[in-house]
């Protein structure tokens, strides 16, 4: 089924940024350092912004058109080819081309990706272009940035798993390049390598999974590629495939998703990836790329609903368990992090894990015939993906804003505020080991950075799941779905329990982060001098704050139902929906769910934050006052802090705390394993490579060069010889013709 209309232009959404990539790179190379390039074009930032704006606009048009029906279009047929299968002797025609596939899932992620790419682009212009370290290389940043956006948008729009994989890898490459943007820093180079190699482990499994999938569906593919959605999502085809094999294939693909979305046990790369510039952390490692894994798992939904009942439930349980384990593990590690961005990184991991658990529940329901529950769980998971992307993108940008201003303030302090031009002396700026990202150096910023503090305030509340704000709507849905499965399938108790505990833990570490940064008295001289001053940065913060606060409107419009039901889901009028939603959440007729809701709210709203307040709360210094919507929280925290005599030294000295500081030893274990096994194997293969493979290659090379030399030596340079050869050739032609005639 192919149709025309705006969908024909959907391919431009990833294509425009992809074309902008070489343009920015070459123009940057040509005009680097010239005043126009720096001032007016913002070293390529304006070009990138224009392109991302166009992509966003197109994406919105496509979304408007396809809110209610699945759209597929063959955008471009490259060529058709018939081939002959020697085994069966049959001739098959295959069409090679590009197409797009747009359903609810695509629409949602398309919006998230295009919208956040655009906003973070605005943020980057404020953040990157004022950082003296970036002098004369921001064109590289913007070029890689748009290439990444192209990868993400392309992956979402792809109409086959093959194209999905191609764009998936494109994102992987850009992630590597951007994490290593400050390549002269060994830690950044190391982090880039680590991220690339860790996700590579997952990607190898993804390839294996795709190959298996191809093998399974190839007999039924017809003229299309065996990995195109039209083939693999056809229930008739799914019914013909052996479910056991299908489960293994999907499991392999899931490992790829685990790597990309930084889930246990392939999660180690994400915290280190924070070495990249903050816009990169916001875009790639919080809002978009890490969602690719979720997208892949969500895409598997038709397999689960189409396959034999119960045949794939093991995989669904595995997905949910991985999610549950990661949710708690990451939250635990986040307890002790001092680096602002690392807290957010672990929080990302933990929230993505929630979505995995939700998807696991949805897939379990789908595979066991509970269609309505499956749709509900799916909707909740995807809605959480949406809320999380908005909130986390905002949180990272806000943290970037804090770090940026801390740098500036530190600079002013270190140079007695005299020189505004910070061109050449950024070296000593790094020599004195002031950590602008550490929360130990912050405190009391709520009044000094009101916009940033507000954004972080509501962002944190959304992540925690404070009732009525942002992520609350979706997180409740995930937790209740997980417990609903657990009522039917006891093994599911593990992930269900873990996500419930995780809710309280989220409340603690997010509050801890906010209070340590924004409440209390400034802990350093630098923090006193901080103020918001950079243009461009606040714009996306304000927009996203409203997006986060507006989540209840989406919830009222049944966004969850719409996202969950691929075929019949419709969003509804806000006023019709909100009453139903509120009743469903707060006054559920099912006693079990009713209690569950209030337990979850109690954990995340009361227990977590109050613990954090008692440890890290405090009023601002005299004369400073935050905006009223935050001031109450600060005052409350000061009260809680002074009333409680909570002594946490026992905890701080415990062995658990220590191993949390060491990130639960995952890195040590992996490093040890690498050293022993991988390096040993690498040495062996190095010997094989240099002796056997190189030997063969070199022999071929020298032989062919020798043959080439001899052949060329026939070209003597003398016309007489040429004519003689031509005469000989004529004789040969005669002999050959004679033989036939």
């Amino acid at each position: 089924m192919s149709e025309s209309g705006i969908i024909d232009y959907a391919v431009l959404i990833p294509l425009l940024p992809m074309l902008a990539f070489p343009v920015i790179l070459f123009l940057g190379k040509m005009f680097n350092g010239t005043p126009t390039w720096v001032k007016n074009v913002k070293e390529g930032g304006i070009i990138a912004l224009t392109v991302m704006g166009a992509s966003l606009l197109l994406a919105l048009l496509v979304i408007k058109e396809h809110m209610h029906h699945v759209g597929t279009a063959n955008i471009f047929t490259w060529f058709e080819s018939s081939w002959w299968n020697p085994e069966t002797g049959a001739i098959t025609t295959k069409v090679f081309g590009v197409g797009v596939y747009i359903d609810h899932l695509t629409v949602m992620l398309l919006f998230v990706a295009a919208f956040l790419c655009f906003l973070i682009n605005i943020f980057s212009i404020g953040y990157m272009n004022t950082d003296p370290i970036n002098d004369n290389r921001n064109h590289r940043f913007y070029a890689e940035f748009v290439l990444f956006c192209s990868g993400m948008l392309g992956m979402v729009l792809a109409d086959s798993f093959l194209w999905l994989f191609i764009f998936w890898e494109l994102m992987g490459l850009c992630s590597y390049l951007l994490i290593g943007f400050y390549y002269e820093r060994p830690s950044a180079a190391y982090a880039a390598k680590k991220a690339f190699l860790t996700t590579r482990v997952g990607d190898v499994f993804l390839v294996i999974g795709l190959i298996m999938l191809w093998n399974l569906f190839q007999p039924y593919a017809g003229t299309q590629g065996a990995l195109s959605y039209a083939v693999v999502f056809d229930p008739a085809n799914i019914a013909k495939v052996n479910p056991g094999d299908l489960q293994i294939a999907l499991g392999m693909m899931f490992i790829g998703a685990v790597g990309k979305s930084a889930q246990f046990p392939l999660h180690v790369w994400l915290p280190d990836a924070m070495e990249g510039p903050t816009p990169v952390s916001a875009l790639i490692h919080a809002a978009t790329m890490v969602n690719a894994g979720l997208y892949l798992v969500a895409r598997m939904f038709p397999f689960f609903s189409g396959a034999e009942l119960g045949a794939l439930s093991t995989l669904a349980i595995v997905i949910a368990c991985i999610g549950g384990i990661t949710a708690v593990m990451a939250a635990l590690i986040a307890f002790v992090q001092m680096d602002l961005k690392k807290v957010l990184a672990y929080s990302t991991m933990s929230q993505l894990a929630y979505i995995f658990t939700g998807l696991g529940s949805a897939l379990w329901f789908a595979n066991n015939g509970y269609e309505e529950l499956a749709a509900f769980a799916m909707g909740a998971s995807l809605f959480h993906l949406f809320n999380h992307a908005m909130a986390k993108g905002m949180l990272f940008m806000a943290s970037g804003s804090v770090i940026h201003e801390m740098h500036h303030a530190h600079h002013e302090v270190a140079h007695h505020g005299h020189d505004d031009d910070h061109g050449d002396d950024h070296d000593d700026h790094h020599d004195d080991h002031f950590d602008a990202q550490s929360m130990e150096n912050m405190g009391g910023l709520a009044s000094r950075m009101p916009i940033t503090a507000t954004a972080m305030f509501f962002g944190s509340m959304s992540i925690i799941g404070i009732p009525l704000i942002g992520g609350f709507w979706s997180k409740e849905g995930i937790i209740s779905s997980a417990w609903q499965v657990a009522r039917k399938e006891p093994v599911f108790l593990l992930p269900a329990m873990l996500v419930l505990i995780g809710a309280g833990m989220t409340g603690f570490y997010m509050s801890r982060m906010w209070f340590m940064t924004f409440a209390g008295k400034p802990k350093t001289e630098v923090a006193e001098k901080v103020h918001e001053q950079t243009a461009w940065i606040p714009i996306p913060l304000v927009i996203l704050t409203f997006m986060t606060l507006g989540a209840f409107i989406l919830a009222g419009m049944h966004a969850g139902h719409w996202l969950g039901d691929f075929n019949n889901g419709h969003y509804s009028n806000f006023f019709d929906g909100i009453g139903y939603e509120l009743e469903h959440v707060f006054m559920n007729h099912d006693m079990f769910l009713f209690i569950l809701t209030y337990v979850a709210i109690g954990l995340s709203l009361i227990l977590g934050p109050s613990l954090a307040m008692s440890l890290y709360g405090g009023s601002l210094d005299d004369g400073q006052k935050a905006k009223p919507w935050m001031q109450w929280a600060i005052s409350l925290s000061a009260k809680v802090n002074s009333k409680s005599n909570f002594d946490n030294s026992a905890w701080a000295n415990s062995s658990l705390s220590e191993s949390l500081h060491k990130r639960l030893h995952f890195d040590d274990i992996y490093d040890a394993a690498m050293l022993k096994i991988v390096v040993g194997f690498a040495n062996l293969s190095a010997i094989f490579d240099s002796k056997v493979i190189d030997g063969v290659i070199k022999t071929i090379e020298s032989t062919s060069q020798e043959v080439s030399r001899r052949v060329r030596s026939l070209t003597t340079g003398s016309a007489r010889d040429y004519i003689m050869m031509a005469t000989l050739g004529t004789l040969v032609i005669f002999m050959l013709l004679w033989g036939v005639a």
């Binding site: 018939s82 002797g89 080439s708 004519i723 050959l736 013709l737 033989g739 036939v740 005639a741």
Partner: protein, 562 residues
């Protein structure tokens, strides 16, 4: 539509070619206009007649012939392209008495477009490559020579174009031969255009000698054909071919040599690397594309139009083994020689020998067109011919493009060593990247035009070798026609060729620029423009080739093979 020579319809139909003729005449006249006066004998009356003498400032400008030549080619090409796209192309036959001389159809127009496009690119590039200087201050001998020769260069280019068009249009082997010689003689001079340089003069003479011998052999073949059939008309020869004696076969072999030299098939290719290396790069590019296409017309006319057995008879053409041998030898020889070649121009010359081998392999498959009484054999044949035409067309994009990049390098010195290219990507990223894309296209990397052309050629050979065997159910390898092996040979050869194409990339991207070549490349607006056009064509024709493939099919159909 039939028309007599020099009738009204004739002028209308041949308007683009007439533009070339007018351009040629103007190129003779305009640079010679001056203030000269003619004195009436025995009187003192002097009548101004404007020819010779002290030239006007405007007409004496050394830059004028270049502009004039390029504009002429552009107008002629534009007229042809518009005519083809509009669909206003009708078959027009020119007769003189009962002899058919020329015919305009989709096939001939397609080739004319190839020729004019290639020569237009070369002429645009020559505006910078052989620059015209206005005399100010110091004038070196070379500059003076260059200025004096401006008109010569473009006259020769237009002559080449005219000769090639004649080859494409001809319906009579004698007319074809005249056109071939007109174009060839002009190219011999173009190769030796820089007669001061030893390489240029020597290569020109060598190319001339070997070319003349080949032409002589070919002409002898034509005379034998005339002896046998009493006519050199394509239609007559084609109709009577089946009744020919051994004399016809000998003639066929001799003619094959003549055209084999033009497409630089082994072992008649020896002069080609020398000629390419000695000529200006844009001229070498014309030799590798337009001149090769001209030879290909000859081969198609003689092998496919004349010497192809009729559909009614069983079996394959008699030349099929000959051509198969030649094609495999040619492609292998070209590739192996290119492997070790360190002169980029020679490397490209050998690569163009290999490309000739690929196209001859495709021609061989046409010879097997109705083996085992294949249903609708003309479909198979047309698919192959269309693939060859497509290949010839896209060669203009990426092979000529590669030569133009070398031409840009020649503007700052030689381009006869591989090291001349070193660090090109660093010195000029856009040019370096373009060259790399041209190399990838030559190697046949998707999604570029080169991939599409190789794909079409190989796919059409394979589908001919399968024929309609599969209708009977399952088939095995032994059921295939042996031309299948040619596709395999082509495949292996393509794999070998990747080595030397990618080596250019390695040198450009990884090596450090050699001493004295650290500065940015010379600017050259029009040569760069020509390179961009080639680059865009290379990419677009790879991604979206439908229109061009349709054109190729229409051209192949107009050959009326069945």
């Amino acid at each position: 539509m039939e028309t007599e020579v020099f009738s009204t319809e004739f002028w209308q139909a041949f308007a683009p070619e007439m533009v070339l003729v007018v351009g040629l005449v103007l190129l003779f006249i305009i640079p010679n206009l001056g203030e000269a006066k003619f004195r009436v004998p025995l009187t003192k009356v002097r009548i101004p007649w404007l020819f010779g003498g002290r030239r006007f400032k405007s007409t004496g400008s050394p830059a004028l012939p270049g502009m004039l030549g390029t504009a002429t080619l552009f107008v002629a090409l534009g007229m042809m392209v518009i005519e083809t796209i509009d669909g206003g192309l009708s078959t027009t036959t020119v007769t003189s008495g009962d002899v058919t001389l020329l015919q305009i159809d989709a096939f001939s127009r397609f080739f004319e477009i190839i020729f004019l496009a290639a020569i237009l690119m070369a002429s645009m590039a020559s505006l910078d490559r052989v620059p015209a200087h206005t005399f100010k201050g110091n004038k070196s001998l070379e500059e003076m020579y260059d200025n004096r020769r401006q008109a010569d260069l473009y006259i020769l280019m237009l002559t080449t174009a005219l000769g090639m068009c004649m080859v494409a249009l001809s319906q009579d082997l004698f007319v074809l031969f005249v056109g071939l010689e007109l174009a060839s003689l002009a190219t011999y001079i173009l190769v030796a255009f820089h007669k001061e340089s030893k390489a240029g003069a020597e290569s020109g003479v060598k190319y001339f000698i070997v070319g003349s011998v080949a032409s002589g052999i070919g002409l002898y073949g034509l005379s034998l054909l005339y002896l046998e059939f009493g006519s050199l008309q394509l239609s007559t020869l084609s109709a009577n071919w089946a009744d020919g004696s051994i004399l016809a076969t000998i003639a066929l072999g001799l003619v094959l040599v003549g055209f084999g030299f033009k497409v630089s098939a082994a072992p008649f290719h020896f002069a080609a690397p020398d000629a390419y290396a000695g000529a200006n790069s844009p001229i070498a590019g014309v030799l590798a594309t337009a001149s090769k296409a001209m030879g290909m017309i000859g081969l198609i006319r003689i092998l496919l139009v004349i010497a192809l057995p009729d559909t009614g008879t069983d079996g394959s053409a008699i030349w099929i083994y000959t051509l198969a041998t030649l094609s495999v030898v040619t492609m292998t020889w070209g590739n192996i020689a290119a492997l070790g070649s360190t002169n980029p121009k020679r490397m490209l010359a050998y690569s163009s020998v290999a490309h000739a081998g690929y196209m001859m392999a495709a021609l061989t498959a046409v010879g097997a067109w109705h083996w085992g009484h294949v249903e609708a054999p003309a479909d198979y044949a047309e698919a192959i011919v269309a693939a060859i035409l497509f290949h010839l067309f896209v060669l203009v994009a990426f092979k000529l493009g590669a030569f133009l990049v070398l031409g840009l390098l020649e503007m700052e010195g030689g381009a006869s060593r591989l090291s001349a290219l070193s660090g090109l990507a660093r010195r000029d990223p856009l040019i370096g990247t373009s060259m790399f894309i041209f190399m990838l296209a030559l190697a046949g990397v998707p999604p570029l035009a080169g991939f599409m052309s190789k794909f079409l050629v190989i796919a059409s050979i394979v589908s001919t070798s399968v024929g309609d065997q599969w209708v009977n159910g399952s088939i095995s390898f032994s059921d295939l026609h042996w031309v299948w092996w040619l596709a395999l040979a082509m495949f292996i050869n393509s794999a070998i060729s990747v080595f030397y194409y990618l080596r250019i990339g390695v040198v450009m991207f990884l090596d450090i620029p050699e001493e004295g070549r650290r500065k940015p490349l010379p600017y050259g607006a029009s040569i760069r423009m020509a390179i961009w056009i080639c680059l865009v064509a290379t990419i677009i024709l790879g991604l979206s080739a439908d229109t061009l493939i349709d054109m190729c099919y229409r051209a192949a159909e107009s050959l009326k093979l069945a």
